[in-house]
C-alpha cells in the first residue's frame, strides 16, 4: 500500500542572515502510514520544525522530494491540496489568528478553500464541538486563555478536514489542564483514524506514541516503537535526550529486582506492572 507520506533523500538548507547556507536536514528517508501516531523528538536545532514545515509545503526541499498521497510538495498545483491534507499547529497560535470571533476564526480556512455554505457550517460545528469550544463561539480569540487559544488553533485546522495533524510543541506552554485537554482531543481524533505527528521535548509524551523518530543534526538517528527507542539510554543521553521518567524508574527497579520489567512507558502502565508483580509474589 502506498504510504500517506513518503520522504525521499530529503535535504534542506536555510540561508542565514549573514548569507551563509546552513544545512538543517541532511538526507531524510521516511514513510508515514495512514493512522500512525508518531512522536518526533530530538535536541533543539535538530531539524524537527523544519521537517514539519516541509511536510505541508511551507518550505520546499533543497534536494530530494516529499510525496503526500502521491502529490509532490514541490508541485505548485498540489500545494493547496497538500496544506489541506497536512494540518500544522504551532506553539504560539495567537500570532496567526485573523478573525475577531471564535467561530469565524474556525471558518476562515475552509471558507478560503471555497467550501460550500452548508458543508462549512457542518465542519465548523464539528470542529467547535470536538475541541470543546461550542460555548465560546461568539467570544473574541484575544480573550481566550492559553489553553483555549491552542484549542481554537486546532479547531481551525480540523475544519480543513486534514488527514495528518502535526503538532509542533503545541502544548509546551500550556498549564497541566490545558495540556491534558489538547492531548485527549488528539487521542480521540487518532482513534477515529487521524494520522498524528507530535513534535515534543517531553519524553513522557513521546512514550505514549506508537512510533518514535529521533532526529539529530538533520538526520534520523533512531526510529522505532517507544519500547525499543527508550531501551537505549546511553544513545539518548549522547543525543541530548533523556528517558521518560517511568522508563528511568523501571530500569532502577529492574537492576535490583530482575523479574521486574526494564521498560515501562507510562504512569498507568507502571501502576499496573507494580500491582501485577506484588500479586504474583503473594500467594
Amino acid at each position: 500500500m502506498e504510504p500517506l507520506i513518503r520522504v525521499q533523500g530529503l535535504h534542506f538548507s536555510y540561508v542565514s542572515g549573514a548569507g551563509q547556507t546552513v544545512p538543517a536536514l541532511r538526507g531524510i528517508d521516511l514513510e508515514v502510514a495512514a493512522g500512525e501516531h508518531i512522536a518526533l523528538i530530538g535536541p533543539n536545532g535538530s531539524g524537527k520544525s523544519t521537517l514539519a514545515r516541509l511536510l505541508n509545503a511551507l518550505l520546499l526541499p533543497t534536494e530530494g522530494r516529499i510525496l503526500v498521497k502521491g502529490m509532490d510538495t514541490a508541485d505548485p498545483a498540489c500545494r493547496q491540496a497538500i496544506r489541506q491534507t497536512v494540518g500544522l499547529v504551532f506553539q504560539n497560535p495567537e500570532t496567526q489568528f485573523v478573525a475577531t470571533v471564535v467561530e469565524e476564526e474556525v471558518a476562515f480556512g475552509p471558507e478560503n478553500l471555497g467550501v460550500p455554505e452548508a458543508e462549512l457550517r457542518t465542519r465548523v460545528e464539528w470542529a467547535l464541538r470536538v475541541t470543546g469550544l461550542s460555548e465560546l463561539r461568539h467570544r473574541s480569540p484575544a480573550h481566550l486563555s492559553g489553553g483555549q487559544k491552542q484549542r481554537l488553533a486546532l479547531a481551525g485546522i480540523l475544519a480543513m478536514r486534514p488527514e495528518v495533524l502535526i503538532l509542533d510543541e503545541a502544548t509546551s506552554m500550556l498549564d497541566p489542564a490545558g495540556r491534558r485537554a489538547v492531548r485527549e482531543i488528539v487521542a480521540t481524533l487518532h482513534a477515529a483514524g487521524l494520522t498524528v505527528i507530535s513534535i515534543t521535548q517531553a519524553m513522557e509524551e513521546a512514550a505514549e506514541a506508537q512510533r518514535v523518530i529521533v532526529l539529530h543534526e538533520g538526520r534520523i538517528a533512531l526510529d522505532g516503537p517507544p519500547s525499543v527507542v527508550f531501551s537505549e539510554p546511553e544513545r539518548l543521553y549522547a543525543l541530548g535526550l533523556d528517558l521518560p521518567p517511568m522508563v528511568h524508574l523501571a530500569r532502577m527497579l529492574h537492576a535490583r529486582v530482575p523479574s521486574f520489567p526494564s521498560v515501562v512507558l507510562t504512569p498507568p502502565e507502571m501502576v499496573a506492572a507494580l500491582c501485577e508483580h506484588v500479586r504474583r509474589r503473594t500467594p
Binding site: 533543539n44 536545532g45 489553553g147 506552554m173 541530548g240 533523556d242 532502577m252 501502576v271
Partner: protein
C-alpha cells in the same frame, strides 16, 4: 531573616472602569528569603505573570505593597531602575529578544544602559557568561544567530545576571528546551542561587520541575494565594491541585495510586530516587 521581597495584600486590575475590567490580583501575600527557590504555580489566568511583573517594578501596585530589600515600590520616590538591578526578570522564551550581533555585546547591553564604566562592564560580562555556562573564550565573539535555542536562552540569562541582581524572577525558564538543555540550565540556576544572599522566584507549569527544585511553593488561583507550602506538603494534596487543573508529579501519582489500591508505600515521594527506595521495599 529579612526578606528580599515582600508582597503585602497586593491588588491589581487591568483596564479599571471599562467593560473589559479584569481583576488579576486580589490580595496576594508572598515573601522571598535569601537562599531559597520559591516556586509559583497556578492555572493559566491565575495572575502569575501579573505578579511577576510587580516583583521588579514593571507594574506599580494599585493597592497593597511590594517591598524589595525594604524599599516600597508603590512609593512614588522609589527608584524603579535601582529595583530592576536588584531583581532580574527573565520572560518566557527570552531568546526571541536577543538583538545584538555578537554574544558579549548582547550580555553587555544592560550594564551599559546603566552607565557603568567600560572596565566594570567587561568584568561583569565575563562573570555573567561564566555563571550562564558560556565560557567567554568560546562564546564572546560568536554571532548570536548561530547559537542553539538552549545557548541563546543562556545568553539572555547572562544579560540579566550582568546587572548582578540578588533575586532572579523566572517565567517558565526551561520550557521548550531539550532534556540536556533543561538539565544544564536548571543546575546553573541552582548553583547561582546557592551563593549567599540570593534567591529565585520560579514560575512553571511543570510540577516535576517544582518538585525537584523549589524549597517552597505558592499556588495561585484567581488572583489569590490558595496555598503556601513545601513541595512535599503541597503534592500530598492531589485533590487540591486537581481542583485548580493542576496535578502531582508523575512519580508521586504512581505511588498515590498504589496506596489507593491498598499497597503499603510512601505517598509523599517527589523524585525518582525516593520512589526507588519505597518501591524496592514493596517488591522485595
Amino acid at each position: 531573616m529579612i526578606p528580599l521581597i515582600e508582597v503585602r495584600d497586593l491588588h491589581y486590575t487591568y483596564l479599571p472602569g471599562t467593560p473589559l475590567e479584569t481583576e488579576a490580583l486580589r490580595g496576594v501575600n508572598l515573601v522571598v528569603y535569601p537562599g531559597e527557590i520559591v516556586g509559583l504555580i497556578g492555572p493559566t489566568g491565575s495572575g502569575k505573570s501579573t505578579l511577576l511583573q510587580h516583583l521588579n517594578g514593571l507594574l506599580r501596585p494599585q493597592a497593597g505593597q511590594v517591598l524589595v530589600a525594604g524599599q516600597d515600590l508603590s512609593h512614588p520616590q522609589t527608584d524603579l531602575r535601582a529595583v530592576r538591578r536588584r531583581v532580574g526578570l527573565l520572560f518566557q522564551n527570552p531568546e526571541d529578544q536577543l538583538f545584538e550581533r555578537y554574544v558579549a555585546d548582547d550580555v553587555a547591553y544592560g550594564p551599559l544602559q546603566y552607565g557603568l564604566p567600560r572596565e566594570e562592564v567587561r568584568e561583569r560580562v565575563r562573570r555573567a557568561m561564566l555563571a550562564a555556562g558560556l565560557p567567554p573564550e568560546v562564546y564572546a565573539d560568536r554571532p548570536t544567530f548561530s547559537l542553539s535555542t538552549g545557548e541563546k536562552r543562556r545568553v539572555a540569562l547572562a544579560g540579566v545576571l550582568a546587572l548582578e541582581p540578588q533575586v532572579l524572577v523566572l517565567d517558565e525558564p526551561l520550557a521548550g528546551l531539550d532534556p540536556a538543555g533543561r538539565k544544564l540550565l536548571a543546575s546553573l540556576l541552582a548553583h547561582w542561587c546557592a551563593q549567599e544572599g540570593r534567591a529565585i522566584v520560579w514560575a512553571s507549569h511543570s510540577m516535576d520541575e517544582i518538585a525537584r527544585l523549589a524549597d517552597r511553593v505558592y499556588l495561585l488561583a484567581e488572583g489569590r494565594v490558595v496555598r503556601e507550602a513545601t513541595p512535599r506538603e503541597l503534592f500530598a494534596e492531589p485533590e487540591l491541585l486537581a481542583a485548580y487543573g493542576l496535578e502531582v508529579p508523575a512519580v508521586t501519582w504512581v505511588l498515590q495510586e498504589l496506596a489507593r489500591a491498598g499497597l503499603r508505600v510512601r505517598t509523599d515521594v517527589l523524585i525518582l530516587e525516593e520512589a526507588r527506595e519505597t518501591l524496592l521495599e514493596l517488591l522485595r
